[in-house]
C-alpha cells in the first residue's frame, strides 16, 4: 500500500490496521497526528476491540491520543455548561456550532475529537447583549492587533474571539455562518427557525441538513482548508449518520438552494465521495448538477483539493500539497472578501509577520 493511502485506508476500514507493519504504523501515527485524526483512529480501534492486537509501542501512542481527546471532550462539555449558565437567563436563542454541537448531541464526529474553540451562533440583533453578558462574567477579548479586531467585526461574521479569564478557553460568537462580505448569503433567520433543542430549551443545534451545509460551507468557502481531511471526515460521518433518516436526502438539495449553499454542497459531496466513499444517492448528485461549476474550475478544484487533503509524508515536503494549500487559502479569502480588500489584508498580514514578534 502506498504511503499516501495509509490514512485513507485506516479511516475507510479500521480493521485493516491490525495487519500493518511497525514501519507503516510509524508513518500512520505521524500522519494521523498531524491531521488531528489520531484520537479518531484510537476510538475506531477501541470500538472494534482491536487495541489489544496491536504492538505495545503503537498502543502507547493511541493511549496518549485518547487521553488528549477525552480531556478535550470534558473541557468542551464544561464550557457549554458554563456558557449556558450565563446566557440561558438572557433568553437569547443560541445555536451550538461544529464541535460543540457534535459532542453535546453525541454525534459520530465527536469520537476521539480534538476541539479548538466553542462556536455559537446568535441573532445579530442580540449580539451586543451577548457580548456584554459574557464580558461581565469572566470573558475578555483575545488580544488582537487593532487591524485584526477591525477585520473580525467589520468584515467577518463573528466577534473577535473571547478568552475566559481563568479557564483560558476560547469562545467564538457568530451571527451568520459566512462573512457578510462574501458572495454567498445564507439567511441565519432560517437556521434559527429549523434549529433543534437538546435537553430543555438551551442550547440548540442546527437541523441535520443545516449541520451538513454548515460543515460544507466551512470547509469549502469559509476556512483555509486547514481542517482538511479532519473536517471532511466530520462531513462523511454526518452524511452516514443522517442519511438513513426519513426524508433527509430529499430535503438536502432544496435546503441548500434555499440557503444559497448549493455550490459548497456540490464540492462537499463530491470530495467526500471521492476520498472517503461517502454513500450519496445518485438522485442527489443529479439534483446538484445545475449548480456545479464549469469544467475548468472543476478540474482545478479536483486537483487542488485532492492534493491538499492528501496526508503527506512527514519527512518529505510535497511541494504540490504545499502549493495547493496556499492556493486554496487565497481562494477562500477571495470568496470572503472583494479583491481589493483581499490584497490589502494579505499584504498587511505579511508585513506584520516580518516586523513584529508574534505571541505564542
Amino acid at each position: 500500500m502506498h504511503d499516501r493511502e495509509l490514512l485513507y485506508a485506516a479511516l475507510r476500514d479500521p480493521s485493516t490496521m491490525v495487519d500493518l507493519e511497525l514501519a507503516q504504523w510509524d508513518l500512520l501515527i505521524r500522519q494521523a497526528r498531524y491531521a488531528r485524526l489520531l484520537g479518531r483512529l484510537a476510538v475506531l480501534l477501541e470500538e472494534r476491540d482491536l487495541l489489544e492486537c496491536l504492538p505495545q509501542k503503537v498502543r502507547d501512542h493511541l493511549t496518549a491520543a485518547r487521553v488528549v481527546a477525552r480531556k478535550n471532550e470534558t473541557t468542551m462539555r464544561w464550557e457549554v455548561d458554563r456558557v449556558g449558565k450565563m446566557l440561558a437567563p438572557t433568553g437569547v436563542p443560541v445555536i451550538l456550532l461544529k464541535g460543540g454541537a457534535y459532542v453535546m448531541a453525541e454525534l459520530p464526529p465527536a469520537r476521539g475529537r480534538l476541539y479548538s474553540d466553542l462556536d455559537i451562533l446568535v441573532p445579530k440583533s442580540q449580539l451586543s447583549l451577548v457580548e456584554q453578558t459574557l464580558l461581565e462574567q469572566g470573558w475578555e477579548p483575545q488580544k488582537l492587533h487593532p487591524y485584526d479586531q477591525r477585520y473580525y467585526r467589520q468584515w467577518m461574521h463573528e466577534l473577535p474571539p473571547l478568552i475566559h479569564r481563568q479557564r483560558r478557553t476560547s469562545l467564538d460568537v457568530h451571527h451568520t455562518i459566512l462573512p457578510e462580505t462574501g458572495r454567498l448569503h445564507p439567511d441565519p433567520e432560517k437556521l434559527f427557525q429549523a434549529a433543534r433543542p437538546l435537553a430543555g430549551e438551551w442550547p440548540k443545534v442546527l437541523a441535520p441538513t443545516d449541520m451538513i451545509l454548515h460543515s460544507a460551507a466551512h470547509l469549502f468557502q469559509d476556512g483555509e482548508l486547514a481542517g482538511g481531511l479532519r473536517d471532511l471526515t466530520d462531513l462523511d460521518d454526518l452524511l452516514r449518520h443522517f442519511g438513513p433518516q426519513e426524508g433527509f436526502w430529499d430535503q438536502l438539495v432544496p435546503r441548500a438552494r434555499e440557503l444559497d449553499l448549493a455550490r459548497p454542497l456540490f464540492y462537499a459531496l463530491r470530495y467526500s465521495q471521492r476520498c472517503l466513499e461517502s454513500p450519496v444517492p445518485d438522485s442527489v448528485v443529479d439534483a446538484l448538477r445545475p449548480t456545479r461549476p464549469s469544467w475548468p474550475v472543476r478540474f482545478l478544484m479536483d486537483a487542488l483539493v485532492t492534493r491538499a487533503m492528501r496526508p503527506g509524508h512527514p519527512d518529505k515536503t510535497c511541494w504540490g500539497s504545499v502549493l495547493s494549500t496556499w492556493l486554496l487559502y487565497v481562494r477562500s479569502h477571495w470568496l470572503r472578501m472583494p479583491p481589493l480588500l483581499l490584497a490589502s489584508h494579505l499584504f498587511r498580514k505579511a508585513l506584520r509577520h516580518w516586523y513584529e514578534e508574534e505571541d505564542d
Partner: protein, 309 residues
Amino acid sequence: MNLGDLGFENLRQQLRHRGVFVRTGPFVCHLRSPLCDVAEAIDFAYADFPLVDRGGFADFHVRLARPPGLRRWVRPQVQFYLDGRASLKPFPVRLAVPMLEWGLNWCVASQAHQYMMIHAAALERDGHAVLLVGRPGAGKSTLCAALVFNGWRLFSDEIALVRPDDLRLVPLPRPISLKNESIEVIRRFAPGARIPWQWEDTTKGTVAHLAPPTDSVLRADQTAPAAWVVFLDYQPDADTRSRRLPRGTALMRLARNAFNYCLLGSQGFETMARLIESSACYEFRYSDLNKAIARFDTLPQPDRDHAGS
C-alpha cells in the same frame, strides 16, 4: 549494538543522512543533524545507549538543522524539527546541543500521555525511587547529579514517568543539565565527572551536560515504585531540615509540578492520589550538598502501610 560502537566518523555520516535510531528509556528516538557539534555531543553523551533497527518504529523523529532562508547566514540559527515541523522557536546555532536536550524533553512532555509525567528528578536505590521536586534554583539538578555520584541510579533529571497502572516509575536516563553555579559545584564534588563543554548566555544562564552513568543507561528497563517525594528548598546558609508534609498539601503541590496532571482527568487524580498514599512526602530545606546527601542516606525505608509513618 550501542551508539558508541559506531565510531565518530560513521556516526557523523549517519546523522547527516539517514539518522540513527537510539533507545532512550522507553522511547526510540530517530536523530538526524548535519551539525558537527551535535554529532560530537551525541557521541560523548549517548555512547552507552542501544541502537535500534533502522526502518522500524520510532517514537520521535527529530532533526536539528539550520532553517532555510536568510537566518542560515545572518545571525545563524538552529531549528528543532519534530516530524518535519518546527514547533519550537529557533536558537542561535552555537546552542544546538542544549537545544537537542530541551527539544527531546519537549517531545516527551508534550506527547507521552500514556504516563503521568512530573517535572521532577527521579532516582532509585535498593529498589525504591525518590522524586525531587523544586522550582528553578531549588537545586534539583545539582542534587540529582550529586546523588548519582553517591550510589543512586539515575531515572531522569527532568521528567519523572509514572505508569498509571502500577504506579511504577519508568527510567528515562539522559544527560543531566547543570546550570550556572552548579556546574562548578559538581566539578568540585565529583572531580571524575565528565563535563567537556558548557554553553553561555542561554535563557537559563550557562548550561553544561553531564553524561548519564553507564549503569543507569544499561538498567533503563528496570522500573521501581516511588517511596519518597521530596520538595526541595535551597536556602543559602540554611540548616539541613526536613518535615513531613500532610498528604493533601503534597498532592496539590505535586499536581502543580506535573506536566499532564490536568490532561489525564480522573485518571490523573487517582494516579496522583495513589502515588501520594504509597509514598512519604517531605519538604527539604538545605544549603550544604554533602549534608543533604547524608540526609538522603537516612530516608526511612518504606513500610507496607504508611499510617502514621
